[in-house]
């Protein structure tokens, strides 16, 4: 249960909002749930709903609305490559082609070992350093095929 395992973190989250506004904690709590389970499971959404004192369907609508919540299992590492206009002007389309070829999957898919999900996403606010991607929380800039190869080696180890 999240509420036992992450007792202190959850208490610190609730302390940020007025006591009668528990619902404000729904997104930070979903972050914890996703960290714990890898994606927003039905069970996790129920737990978050209970903690915030709202209906599970309300939590589910939040999960459905925001792109960073996963409703299905994803790889241990999610590589989000920006293929929005500014990045593509600096070669992101060719870079995505390379990523697909290197990983042997198409954007949106996960490698058979369950390690890596490749995604293409909208602007990540780092257009000056394109091609770029985000791996889980970390940004990687000025990418080249060579740098990507090294990144994949690291990820496959972990």
């Amino acid at each position: 249960m999240l509420k036992d395992k992450y007792k202190d973190r959850i208490a610190a989250i609730f302390a940020k909002y007025p006591p009668e506004r528990k619902r404000s904690a729904v997104m930070p709590l979903l972050d914890i749930a996703q960290e714990e389970y890898g994606y927003c499971t039905e069970e996790a959404m129920r737990e978050v709903a209970e903690l915030c004192g709202i209906d599970p369907t309300e939590v589910k609508s939040v999960v459905g609305f925001y792109t960073m919540y996963y409703e299905k299992k994803v790889g241990k590492y999610v590589i989000d490559v920006c293929d929005d206009l500014p990045c593509v002007l600096r070669g992101a389309d060719k870079f995505v082609n390379y990523c697909e070829q290197k990983l042997g999957i198409k954007a949106g898919e996960t490698t058979p070992d369950g390690k890596i999900t490749l995604n293409v996403v909208m602007c990540l606010a780092a257009c000056d350093r394109a091609p770029m991607c985000q791996v889980n929380t970390a940004y990687h800039y000025d990418l080249t095929p060579d740098k990507f190869d090294k990144l994949v080696i690291e990820l496959k180890k972990g």
Binding site: Y66, K106, M122
Partner: protein, 448 residues
């Protein structure tokens, strides 16, 4: 400019550390305000400086603060660090490299309006910068700069970081407030404006990160000092995020109204490809595209309006003459279709249909009737949307058609659609779309 006012990390190494920031007048304005100024005096100096909001709309910050009623409690400050407009990466820079100036500006705003709590709303992807920002806030607490009874006064202030989770619309201020209240990020009907009924229905100021980063030097040095830069109507300095086909993309801090678009392009090293620059989007995908023939215009709010465009979020995407505007417009429409919150039909359905027409063009099956259809679909969206996002979506169509109609005509006549590159791009988007069907949802309802 030799010394930066905002990008101070370029002049002072490690200014992100509290110790270094403090050695360079850090929190001096904060101390000055809490120990020696009335809240109204802070509002007055910001008002007199003429500082305008840097999030896009350019509304005068001090005027906004003065709308907050004095007799309603509590009140809130929310800082807009959602930064999701394609091409914008200035707030990202500030929170990572000069976080204390953002914190100090937030604190000054809170003091000025009488708020005891402020939330900094960061887009979800800014997880790591947000952790760093939190660390800077923790350091400020430890140094007695935030918390209870500051500088021995009876004023207390708490600042919290709140993370979103991926939704461009949460940059719109009322959607941001909904999101902060734990709901899906759909805009609210205005009025009432946030100054009257904002976060938790209480009076709330929402300002952009860059706007607030300007406040400490203004409070410390006065409004006349700030007005030595810029023009009468657009005073001060502004960050320009420059990207696309330029040699040296990055953030440039410039006085408003001093330089032209052409000079900005030259500062960024000119064309990266050696090919002539064809056009620029001055405020990301949302803005009316500017053809090179208008690059003489000066960089301020009024001059940009005079050439039929905007200064907006100041994200300059330069494109050389290899860029086909039909392709570029499709890329932008794809963005808005993805980011439409789904609340109102013209935007939700309009962006969907517009994208399908562009897809048809790219696939090689389009005709000149389809080009005309784009204009028709566009008309069904313009002026009919609940919030500006729908309107933003139309500018990529309206202004590429206006300035680059020939690209559309050539696209059909020369059968540019159906190339391998375009087919691959379409196939990728469609594959993702299929994978996400049943996963991507609008308003909690699963849609296409």
């Amino acid at each position: 400019m030799e010394k930066h006012i905002l990008l101070r990390d370029l002049d002072v190494p490690n200014i992100r550390d509290l110790a270094v920031y403090s050695q360079h007048e850090g929190y001096a304005a904060w101390k000055k305000a809490v120990t020696g100024m009335k809240p109204d005096e802070v509002i007055t100096v910001v008002k007199d400086s003429g500082l305008r909001g840097r999030g896009g709309a350019g509304f005068p910050a001090g005027v906004k603060w003065s709308f907050i009623p004095k007799d309603v409690f509590p009140k809130y400050v929310t800082v807009n660090c959602d930064e999701s407009e394609p091409g914008t990466f200035k707030d990202h820079h500030l929170i990572r490299h000069n976080p204390h100036q953002v914190i100090e500006g937030t604190a000054l705003c809170a003091y000025a309006i009488g708020a005891n709590v402020a939330y900094i709303y960061c887009r979800g992807e800014f997880r790591e910068p947000a952790y760093e920002l939190q660390k800077a806030i923790d350091d400020a607490y430890a140094a007695g700069l935030l918390g209870k009874n500051l500088f021995g006064s009876n004023y207390s202030l708490d600042i919290y970081v709140h993370l979103g989770a991926g939704a461009y619309i949460c940059g719109e201020e009322s959607a941001l407030l909904e999101s902060l209240e734990g709901k899906i990020g759909q805009p609210r009907l205005k009025p009432p404006f946030p100054a009257v009924s904002g976060l938790y229905s209480k009076p709330t100021v929402i300002n952009n990160v860059e706007t607030l980063a300007n406040v400490p030097p203004i409070v410390l040095n006065g409004s006349a000092w700030y007005k030595q830069w810029g023009t009468e109507k657009s005073p001060g300095v502004k960050l320009f995020s420059v990207c696309g086909h330029v040699k040296n993309p990055g953030n440039y801090e410039l006085p408003l109204g001093k330089y032209s678009i052409q000079e900005l392009l030259e500062m960024a090293g000119g064309s990266m490809t050696g090919r002539p620059i064809k056009a620029v989007l001055p405020a990301g995908s949302s803005s009316p595209i500017i053809p090179a023939s208008n690059f003489h215009a000066k960089l301020d709010y009024e001059a940009m309006a005079a050439i039929g465009s905007v200064l907006g979020s100041c994200s300059w995407i330069f494109m050389d003459d290899s860029v086909d505007m039909v392709w570029a417009a499709r890329k932008m429409i794809r963005f808005f279709k993805h980011e439409s919150c789904g609340k109102c039909t013209p935007c939700r359905e309009g962006t969907h249909w517009a994208l399908s027409v562009y897809d048809k063009l790219l696939s090689g099956k389009g005709t000149i009737e389809d080009v005309n259809l784009i204009g028709e679909v566009n008309k069904q969206i313009i002026g009919k949307c609940f919030c500006p996002l729908g309107e933003f979506a139309t500018s990529s169509m309206t202004f590429t058609l206006k300035h680059f109609k020939q690209d559309y005509v050539d696209f059909i006549d020369q059968k540019k659609g159906g190339s391998d590159v375009y087919l691959k791009e379409l196939a990728r988007d469609h594959h993702l779309h299929e994978l996400h069907s049943g996963v991507v949802s609008v308003n909690g309802i699963k849609v296409h």
